[in-house]
């Protein structure tokens, strides 16, 4: 079975619209303005999903779907964020169950309107069922059994108060995959850019799963290399392959000052890789690498140290890809960046956007023990080249 990445883009757009409707409904309900910051589709195996939900507690609602879309849809809030949400709702804490059920029902309803509209068929929703779940128990039945599901995730952010949370949408994987292939793939052809066409962007579903695992290995390599160079113990917190509108990537990095390194990748796939630390993390990591405390926190010495670290991490990251994809990928020398996070990544996004609107983003959070430091790695491969390489991967 082949999935067209442009079709995935169309679905992502739908999910984004659904999330906006959900945000609008929640804004009305809570009297607090909410905006959708990022919507992405994760491509993950059941095993990877189980891992990424491990240790999380969620509450939310699930509904069964019939008609235009079959399966089960789940909307979950991180349990940690529920108090903040409830405090905004009429009835507040005392109404927890019914308030969450109502919010979930409204948000899912808005979300599904978009799909029904697109499919040209009504979608029947069973009454919402409230749940509290540990870890991967939040996922719809069957999500963990198959070779993969699409997880739509939208982050909603209150514009005036300090509240943000995520909505997860997990269409039942089998019927949803049929939908992507059956309905959106030919539709995407009509909208393809003249210079590309969709033949070059259709990839076997299985290789997306493979690439997702690959992203995880790359992250582990990069983390090991940090440990080797700094002597600090490292762990990979999150590593996921997501499909997102490129224009959303800067917002995801955020407006806090960041420092780090960026690289251009050449080969198949080409693209960019950015390793970004929050300012204090960058200084702490550079400090750990240097024999003596530098004169200024992010001066020349620290910059050299971070460039050297970036080099080693990037090699670790892309070596894994090249091995599995059977291609050769090289990287440019590091370029040091230190600015508003979103600003540092915007030129990379702009360059990629000349050829594509959506992109695969591999985001990885690496945490160091001992000192408080965390970095995010954004790998932004060229969509067509990645699709070609993945296609070869599944080979005859």
């Amino acid at each position: 079975m082949r999935v067209d990445v442009r079709a995935l883009g169309a679905c992502n757009r739908l999910a984004e619209r659904g999330a906006k409707q959900a945000a609008g409904a929640l804004s009305d309900l809570t009297g607090t303005d909410l905006a959708v910051e990022v919507t992405g589709a994760s491509v993950a195996s059941g095993e990877d999903l189980a891992e990424s939900f491990a240790g999380r507690e969620s509450i939310g609602v699930s509904v069964g779907l019939r008609g235009g879309l079959d399966g089960e849809a789940v909307l979950a809030f991180d349990a940690a964020n529920v108090d903040a949400l409830l405090s905004l709702l009429p009835g507040g804490q005392s109404m927890e169950r019914s308030a969450v059920t109502e919010v979930g029902n409204i948000a899912l309803g808005g979300f599904l309107d978009g799909w029904a509209n697109y499919l040209g068929k009504a979608i029947d929703m069973s009454p919402p069922r409230y749940f509290e779940a540990d870890g991967a128990a939040v996922l719809p039945d069957g999500a963990l059994a198959g070779d993969g599901v699409f997880l739509f995730e939208s982050r909603l952010d209150a514009t005036t108060t300090d509240l943000d949370f995520s909505i997860y949408m997990l269409p039942d994987s089998g019927p949803f995959r049929d939908l992507i292939v059956g309905k959106t793939a030919p539709a995407a052809t009509a909208g393809g850019e003249a210079d590309g066409g969709t033949a070059s962007t259709a990839v076997p579903y299985e290789s997306l799963s493979t690439f997702s695992s690959l992203a995880k290995k790359g992250s582990a390599n990069a983390a090991d290399n940090i440990a080797m160079m700094t002597g600090l113990e490292t762990t990979v917190d999150v590593s996921r392959l997501r499909f997102v509108p490129l224009a959303d990537v800067p917002a995801e990095v955020g407006t806090e000052p960041h420092a780090g390194t960026v690289f251009e990748l050449q080969g198949e796939p080409s693209g960019y890789l950015a390793i970004l630390f929050e300012e204090s993390s960058a200084a702490a990591v550079a400090d750990a690498m240097l024999p003596m405390e530098p004169d200024e926190p992010l001066g020349d010495m620290a910059q050299n140290a971070l460039c050297e670290l970036g080099n080693v991490m990037t090699s670790g990251f892309i070596d894994g890809w090249a091995n599995v994809l059977g291609t050769s990928i090289t990287h440019s020398p590091p370029e040091f960046v230190h600015d508003i996070g979103a600003s540092t990544i915007s030129p990379l996004v702009a360059k990629l956007s000349e050829r594509q609107d959506y992109g695969f983003v591999i985001d990885t959070a690496i945490q160091t023990e001992g000192i408080q430091a965390r970095c995010d790695v954004y790998a932004l491969p060229d969509e067509r080249e990645l699709a070609r390489a993945l296609d070869r991967l599944s080979g005859p």
Binding site: N117, E335, S343
Partner: protein, 195 residues
């Protein structure tokens, strides 16, 4: 319950196979931004590749400008203002410029002027303030300066004078466009000035 069909048709490439034939023209309404809450009287966030217009006291903001460019237009007499956050210089002739005109400087400025016109501004009275277009990286062949250059050309063609700008260098910027028609530009180091 049943989720039924509504008038809010999704856009994007998928629409073009719909049989009713009206789907191609449904680009985003120009006066509404993707990430924004349009009826928020306080602050309207304009995301990357988006634009927004207001005729009341709302403050239009956009953050994390690197190589991207912000174009702020105002008709001082009516107070109608608009802000564009464009990513690339030229969209003319591209398929995506139809569905996302604000991604590009040329199609974005055209859309912004059109939206201001619709909101009651007189295009002949508009004045422009421009910020961003930094040269953040050596890796990415001067996309910032090319954006700034294109803004100049497009505004010139439209007959809109640029009254102030804060562009170029290698610095990220965040901007606020308030009801006084001034554009407040804050650089990554916290330095702020109104232009």
């Amino acid at each position: 319950m049943t989720r039924s069909l509504s008038d809010d048709r999704p856009d994007g490439p998928a629409d073009r196979t719909e049989s009713d034939g009206d789907a191609v023209a449904d680009a985003e309404p120009a006066a509404v931004t993707g990430g924004a809450v349009p009826d928020d009287p306080g602050r309207i966030k304009v995301g990357v590749g988006e634009l927004a217009v207001t005729s009341d006291d709302a403050v239009l903001t956009t953050s994390g400008l690197g190589s991207c460019v912000a174009v702020a237009l105002v008709d001082q007499r009516t107070g109608v203002r608009g802000l564009l956050h464009a990513m690339l210089p030229a969209g003319e002739g591209r398929t995506t410029a139809v569905s996302r005109p604000a991604k590009y400087v040329d199609t974005g400025v055209d859309s912004l002027i059109g939206a201001l016109d619709d909101a009651g501004a007189d295009p002949r009275r508009l004045e422009a303030r421009v910020a961003g277009g930094a040269e953040m990286l050596d890796l990415t062949d001067a996309v910032g300066p090319r954006n700034v250059e294109r803004v100049g050309e497009v505004l010139d063609n439209a007959g809109v004078p640029v009254v102030a700008s804060d562009v170029g260098d290698a610095v990220g910027r965040t901007v606020r466009f308030g009801p006084d028609g001034r554009l407040v530009v804050r650089a990554a180091d916290g330095f702020e000035r109104a232009i």
